[in-house]
Symmetry: C2
Subunit: 280 residues, 2 copies
């Protein structure tokens, strides 16, 4: 017997996926965590009835939230990932041999445990000795952090609603900026440019208060509302198009979506977004 699972987007649209089997279901302190098997994307992770990632399409998102930063920052020894409980982002970070240490700060242990057990296809790097996993609130972590500076910070959080709101505010970005090395870069997922353009614009505006150089970029994520997604690359002095070819050439061999042409193409913005961003 198969059922249909629906993600409802602002009560305007619904993406239904045919589900063959529920793999995992639990209510954590923070959210409802579900993993189920679908025909279209294989196993899917949903939090509070919102699709987060799937075995079938996760590479679009994880390669694009990680590699534009990791192929352009001069140093990438120390990386911080906030969120990303499925393990896909740290997996992509750890593909880079120049990375010595990754700190991953995820608020919900239930998500991590469920993904470790049921989505090993996504989190392939849990046992990498360079990975330090902390279960705590990312906003509080960065506020109190007083260790060495990070070369790259990746904010792989959920939508900017409820408890995650703090991950999308100026104060958090300012704290991140202070904990970055001078030539460091922060990347944040910034919602759908097509159907959530207000959130996207807000995130860009908040980042501009904290960083000198803020570059939005785009890519497909088939399982997200209307299939297109945005990210922002924020730094004080880096050019996201100045790719370190040797590093990118090595990494793109392992990638299913990312390559240097795609990297450059992602930073091309359509007229509608350029006009809104310029009017702010």
């Amino acid at each position: 017997m198969s059922l249909w699972y629906y993600e409802i987007f602002e009560n305007k649209s619904r993406l239904g996926l045919k589900v063959n089997k529920t793999v995992f279901q639990a209510k954590s302190e923070f959210q409802t965590v579900e993993i189920f098997e679908t025909d279209l994307f294989g196993k899917v992770l949903a939090l509070d009835s919102t699709y987060q990632t799937s075995v079938g399409d996760e590479f679009y998102y994880h390669e694009m939230i990680v590699h534009p930063a990791l192929t352009t920052a001069p140093q990438i020894r120390r990386v911080l990932v906030i969120g990303g409980g499925d393990g896909g982002s740290v997996r992509e970070v750890l593909r880079h041999q120049e990375v010595n240490h990754v700190t991953m700060v995820e608020i919900d242990a239930v998500v991590v445990d469920a993904c470790k057990k049921h989505l090993p296809e996504i989190g392939q790097a849990w046992s990498d000795p360079r990975l330090e996993l902390l279960i705590q609130d990312g906003v509080a972590f960065i506020e109190k952090y007083n260790g060495g500076p990070f070369d790259v910070i990746i904010i792989d959080g959920p939508d900017p609603v409820g408890p995650a709101k703090g991950l999308f505010k100026y104060e958090f970005y300012r704290d991140c900026c202070e904990k970055l090395s001078p030539q460091g870069v922060l990347v944040v997922q910034s919602e759908s440019p097509h159907v959530s353009s207000e959130s996207f614009i807000d995130i860009v505006s908040e980042l501009k208060k904290a960083f000198r150089a803020v570059h939005p970029y785009l890519g497909p994520v088939p399982i997200y509302p209307c299939g297109g997604w945005s990210y922002v690359y924020a730094s004080n002095q880096l050019n996201p198009l100045k790719i370190i070819d040797q590093r990118a050439e090595r990494i793109e061999k392992a990638c299913r979506y990312y390559n240097r042409d795609i990297h450059r193409a992602a930073f091309a913005l359509p007229n509608n977004l350029k006009r809104i961003l310029n009017s702010k």
Copy 2:
């Protein structure tokens, strides 16, 4: 009272849109034609329960099926559009002042009449004196055509199923190639690269039998399955990246999605598609 309308994709996923009002509904000789008002995209055209276009997102598709060809072909005096019953493609073609004559061949008069009446926001150029509208089968039209060569042919057809299958076959592409000027270009919509990659690959393969230079390119179409779409630019000698700047500069002012950066970016292909295409 509002209802939910669903497009079912291969019995694997469903995109539901909240509908506030049915604007038009009829069964033509070829298909069920519906226009309804949605919260997310405004008015939507569906044929046989498949979303074709909407007032809210049509510019992504119509600008991208038209302008890469129209800003790179040396001559664009005579243009043929097959399909495109909503009028969006001919509207974009007719924005180019160098275009003297557009022949539009659409099989279903019911679609054209409904769109003329209920979707004037999309088909803004119906009364342009350069437009010649023919209600007939596109495959038969091109087979019998013996007039002067076209500079550009745009195939704005539905999915490659049922009566539209002929629009995606080598014989049709060969006939198109014969009716093109030597420096002409054909563009065809070629399905979702993410979730219909077999159709996409088939279309590229058939085109390669008829044309010397075949270049797939990509763009978002939020209302289509998983929101990403592909097109193919086929010619015997043109380079789709050799943009005629003066023409593109003029046209991009009127565009909501298209600009020269987006044009170049669209031709960047991800690794997964490059690998499948290279293995063929």
